[in-house]
Subunit: 740 residues, 2 copies
């Protein structure tokens, strides 16, 4: 009862929803993520566990990907000789030939970070058993994975056999990532396996132990060490079995399997309940800052906890050389690659609520500066040019071609070439982190170098022509329009970037002169270079239509066919999916917040020509671009919600927020099976805190709110860190407060 | 936004959910109910419209049933020659061979009583149209049925053809109910059809008119008059078409078709929007009293409005010769028959919120006194013995045999013979109505006669033996145990019944002596008969276990096998479904609240032997019977919730309430396709008002509350009539009030 708004519950098992719920019910602890696959397996399931940083580029594949490590979940239960499976239909419910499930309930408790499942199963013998499964990936000790199963003989005296295994015969949807040699241990009471990835040569070790009140026996079939135990269970009796597993890789241990085996011994001696108590205590710490309380909208409350949970579980706790992929660790989509989704969507909530985690994520970019410099150099530019898609190497890993379409053709993917704003997005996150945390040590040692060296890149990237600075061949956030010239988003953000570079230099000069000197020398920040930067900030071309009083997404945008996107409701897919790629890119249909995103990021600092009101231009922009956007990207609705809230368009803001917060829960994009939409999860946090609540740093340098709450919300309570101090804000809806 | 908690929304069309949503999205107005089938049809759909009172007993069938009248919904839309169908999969989304649905949203707005559906459809031509459907069954004029469709050409210039029809080729799931002769009118702008039922000879007339801005044409295929209109729609243009339909039967008009045609002309001249405004105004009146506002539980709030909606739409507004069937007018389940579900579950909420509707329902029983007297006589008893299942005739219509089981055998159904408590249930509702409304005219003219003549029945039914009065061969609420002797529920309620008969007689004598005299004579309430009644109230056998301090459901109950029902969770079906009928009836598994129901109905008046505390016995009863109940009936959880709340077992009460309020929405019983569970809907209202809020009439004769709210509910606000005066109660949760 207490956890009514903390649980996502699946009340019926529907095979059609198998992969959707597998993603939703992912558990994780910042080290790994394990999809909510069943212990006993199911046809077509994808029992994937991804460990941060363990990428592999199998020969023949376009790009590297996060590797599916051995499956630690398998627990197979035989009732009177018949394996328990989720069979829901049968010819005879009293004597089901293959057994049948009579009851089912699965729940993810987000407060506790625990996934439970209860099943009532009748064996062909007619006997009925109740199976209660529980699992968690310890947040207290990231190498501890725990499972418990309680078996109750409900009707009849049942013979039970339980087989617990590690399944190392795993692939990434058919792509093999391990070398043929492997080590297997099935001798003692702990089973284990160790493998090595093909190209990257990471070693992965997994160990596991089943704790049973009865005698156990270990053995193995090919790549599958197992433990079995069996016993009779009299009617109304029950038994509890615990399974402890541990994963280490050569990224974190010299002898992964051996270390995992040691961890298992430790876990088993601590015991399941104490491990769970420690795990829950860590979750309580997370939620103490990360939980946003909405009073007056329970559905939004529950969904918001879900999105927050899915930002927290992939956020690395101890490792600053990994980052959150676009699909977190919850699925194979986008191959575990890291995009701007991290810095502009996932990092800001963490900056304010879990600053240590945010710092880890930003350090990932610092460690990958060599890759960014390499990309700049390879493209003929100076400084650091971050890759659009990033893995463990820091090299550009965006595939250049799509997988073949049904007709065999491939589509050229230009984002790795042209979506260059990623470098500025990273700078934006660093500046935000520094401003909110006051972590000057981070700035001087790491952050400044990234902001400045990416500024160096832009200084070499802009083109002086037509008496101004231009940037050609870009892809802005609206990816329907590729390789366009003078994206207002890109050009304006580059101006912001260079201005920020000056601000950082000024601060360093005044506060950390040695670091200033070091960076000026190392990055060759010559007076000529700085003069060029200043010139760019003053003469950058920012497309603006003075007749309409709007920012122009890019010159030529309004010459294309106008499609009234609102007419395409209700819709299941994007307008692009309806009109086709070829036609869409020649229309004014926008994939996602672009000028609107610029308004979210810069607010009233967006800048307008002399004689124009910023507020009016922002409203004009909204009225122009909102009806043209088909939200073909999951990143879009939350940014729209944020901006609409700031513009006072509350009903529209709520509608967009409501869509954004349910993108995964309702499978609004139809592809949740591939993984959680991390950016949407981070976006809804920002839509609430920056949008509806209007959190900002005021003129006095203090955090302040400026609420524009949905009409039915009574209040929102959230907690943020500002310069090391925790502050809790309760924002009330004046309309409701006065009427109650 | 405003209606966020007033809407049930279906966001994806799933063929598996077709019949479930058809039931949920039933519209109605107390005259008829129409399932939420699609205008264009769908394979396997059940587009059923049921009109109150129109039963027919087709030769060869076991029992009569409510007749499915002609389908007034059909609107078929052809886009560029292709019929719009809900096709969600295709080989080519750009040029779908049979068309394809690109977007879908359906919503039942309960506040407005309006069902809407929006669909985005692509024709094989590639053109995309948006279709917005709306329908309502006017609550203002029960013979007006209105539909609107708005068609927008979203992409491409489309050719549109619309065919509106009445489909009179209907059956009840294959069972024909009409005579072969029928009248069809397809001459003017209004189409119509008239049919006559086979056995009952009811005449049903349906008329319909399509209002189009373009030329229309009428015609017919066999039993299917139609109107067509067609036009070209340029991209971004739209058109609105209205369809008005009307149904009359020989129960309410001399010439049903002609009267319906006249009503159509009137409706068309009033116009769609004005008709809808009048309809919504009537709904506003309903909700002004019937809405219960729960603060602190939005999901319960929405679900509760849904259950209330489904009590309101089948409640007859103008007709006192019909009643609400166990599945309302929303499906063919139980054939439209009326059970105790009406008096003990649906009537009490209406007594307190819509007393006129409650009166109509009680008058149905008055008009059917002849049937009840006939049943008593046929069984060798005096007075009036109401049928377990009732239709338009008042005769017993319970089938004696089930339909054949898979193995060809049939099960004998004993409820029509032995579930005799129905007569007392009706008396209970009448007494409650009288007490709350103060409608003395109803009592003197109608109510007293029913209470007294059913008391006469019981006087002749009880058996004096073993030095006490006993009642053998009964079925109590727990229908798993059939033909048992001395059900404590039955015996105790009979005592209540006879005591109430005395109270009524006393009141009549004092306040309406002429009526007293009339009834004493007519019903032969001789001094001997009254002396017998008094004796029965004093010497009735009420099974009680003095060792355990519990009421005994019936002697011998505890000699049977004990099955710990809680072990059977989570479960999809009942424990009976798991163990089989044959075994279950020999165990202590209880189908539904029985002793618990007695506690709900009588509260602390349940009565205990000298020396026992009522409160303790009630708790003992709860602890005994709750763990034995498998809620095999949808009537059970709400009664348990009510009782648990009164006993202060709030968490358990909430859990049971939560189950009850979602029985239809979550299809907790797996049979919503057959219709709404009316009793569950009425039960949740009582669980809240009588259970959680503790509404009662206090010692001073005034309504008062005694709240035991679920811990997370802030407050509950409800409105009831007491003796003609409307009173609104706001019950606050003290724990939450003090902390906020």
């Amino acid at each position: 009862m207490h956890d009514r708004l903390w649980e996502i519950v699946e009340l019926d098992f529907s095979p059609d929803e198998l992969l959707h719920y597998e993603t939703l019910f992912t558990i994780g602890n910042g080290y790994l993520g394990t999809r909510g696959a069943f212990e006993e397996g199911y046809p077509g399931d994808t029992p994937v566990t991804l460990v941060h940083g363990v990428y592999d580029h199998t020969p023949g594949m376009l790009v590297p990907e996060l590797v599916n490590v051995p499956n630690w979940l398998p627990i197979n239960i035989y009732v009177d000789g018949t394996p328990f499976k989720l069979i829901t239909k049968t010819t005879d419910f009293m004597r089901p030939p293959e057994g049948v499930v009579l009851g089912y309930r699965r729940a993810l408790n987000m407060r506790r970070g625990v996934l439970t499942r209860e099943v009532l199963f009748r064996a062909p013998s007619g006997n009925i058993v109740r199976l209660e499964f529980e699992r968690f990936a310890s947040l207290h000790d990231i190498h501890v994975l725990a499972q418990r199963v309680r078996i109750t003989a409900v009707d009849g005296n049942a013979h039970i056999r339980v087989e617990s295994a590690i399944d190392a015969d795993v692939t990434n949807a058919g792509v093999p990532h391990y070398l043929p040699e492997f080590t297997l241990d099935d001798r003692g009471d702990t089973i284990g396996v160790e493998l090595k990835t093909q190209q990257s040569k990471y070693i992965v070790g997994v160990a596991s132990r089943l704790v049973s009140p009865r005698r156990i026996q270990t053995g193995s079939t090919e790549k599958r060490p197992y433990t079995v135990t069996s016993f009779d269970l009299a009617q109304e009796d029950w038994v509890v079995l615990d399974k402890f597993s541990s994963i280490y890789t050569s990224r974190d241990a010299l002898s992964p399997l051996e270390t995992a085996q040691g961890k298992i011994a430790e876990a088993a001696s601590v015991g399941y309940e104490e491990l769970r108590a420690r795990h829950e205590a860590e979750w309580a710490k997370y939620w103490a800052t990360s939980d946003i309380h909405i009073d007056g909208d329970e559905e939004a409350q529950r969904a918001l906890r879900f999105t927050t949970y899915h930002i927290l579980i992939p956020a690395p706790r101890l490792d600053e050389r990994v980052s959150i992929g676009a699909k977190t660790l919850s699925g194979l989509g986008y191959k575990g690659h890291v995009f701007w989704d991290t810095e502009l969507f996932c990092v800001p909530p963490l900056i304010l609520t879990q600053p240590k985690l945010a710092r880890n994520l930003l350090m990932y970019r610092y460690h990958n500066l060599p890759g960014a410099r390499h990309k700049a150099q390879a493209n003929g530019y100076d400084g650091a040019m971050y890759p659009w898609e990033s893995t463990d190497t820091g090299e550009e890993t965006t595939p250049q071609w799509s997988d073949p379409q049904p007709d065999g053709t491939k589509i050229r993917i230009w984002t790795g070439d042209s979506e260059q704003h990623i470098s500025t997005d990273i700078a934006y996150a660093i500046e935000k982190y520094w401003r909110w945390t006051g972590d000057d040590e981070f700035l001087t040692q790491y952050g400044a170098e990234m902001i400045l060296d990416t500024a160096v890149f832009w200084g070499s990237r802009v083109e002086e022509k037509n008496g101004r600075f231009e940037i050609s061949q870009q892809i802005g956030p609206d990816e329907y329009h590729e390789n366009i010239d003078n994206s207002v988003f890109v050009n304006r953000m580059v101006v912001w970037h260079l201005q920020t570079a000056f601000a950082v230099l000024d601060w360093l000069k005044a506060n950390a002169p040695a670091d200033h000197q070091r960076l000026v020398e190392a990055l060759k920040l010559t007076p000529e270079r700085l003069a060029l930067w200043l010139d760019i900030t003053q003469r950058m071309y920012l497309p603006f239509d003075t007749n309409e009083g709007i920012h122009v997404q890019f010159p030529g945008f309004f010459d294309m066919e106008y499609i009234p996107v609102p007419h395409y409701t209700p819709r299941i897919g994007s307008v692009q999916a309806m009109l086709g790629h070829a036609r869409t890119i020649q229309t004014q249909v926008i994939k996602q917040a672009d000028v609107v995103m610029l308004m979210a990021l810069l607010g009233e600092n967006i800048g307008v020509p002399e004689g124009f009101s910023v507020r009016e231009v922002m409203l004009n922009n909204w009225n122009t671009y909102y009806p043209r956007c088909d939200h073909g990207s999951s990143l879009s609705p939350a940014m729209h919600a944020w901006t609409a809230a700031r513009l006072g368009l509350i009903d529209t803001a709520y509608e967009l927020f409501d869509h954004a917060v349910h993108i995964d829960l309702h499978d609004n994009k139809g592809n949740v099976r591939d993984g959680i939409h991390a950016a949407a999860c981070g976006g809804v946090w920002q839509a609430i805190v920056f949008g509806f609540c209007g959190l900002h740093i005021d003129a006095a340098g203090q955090p302040a709110v400026d609420p524009r709450l949905p009409e039915h919300w009574r209040s929102v309570t959230f907690t943020v860190y500002y310069r090391g101090e925790k502050q809790t804000f309760t924002v009330k809806n004046p309309a409701l407060v006065s009427s109650s």
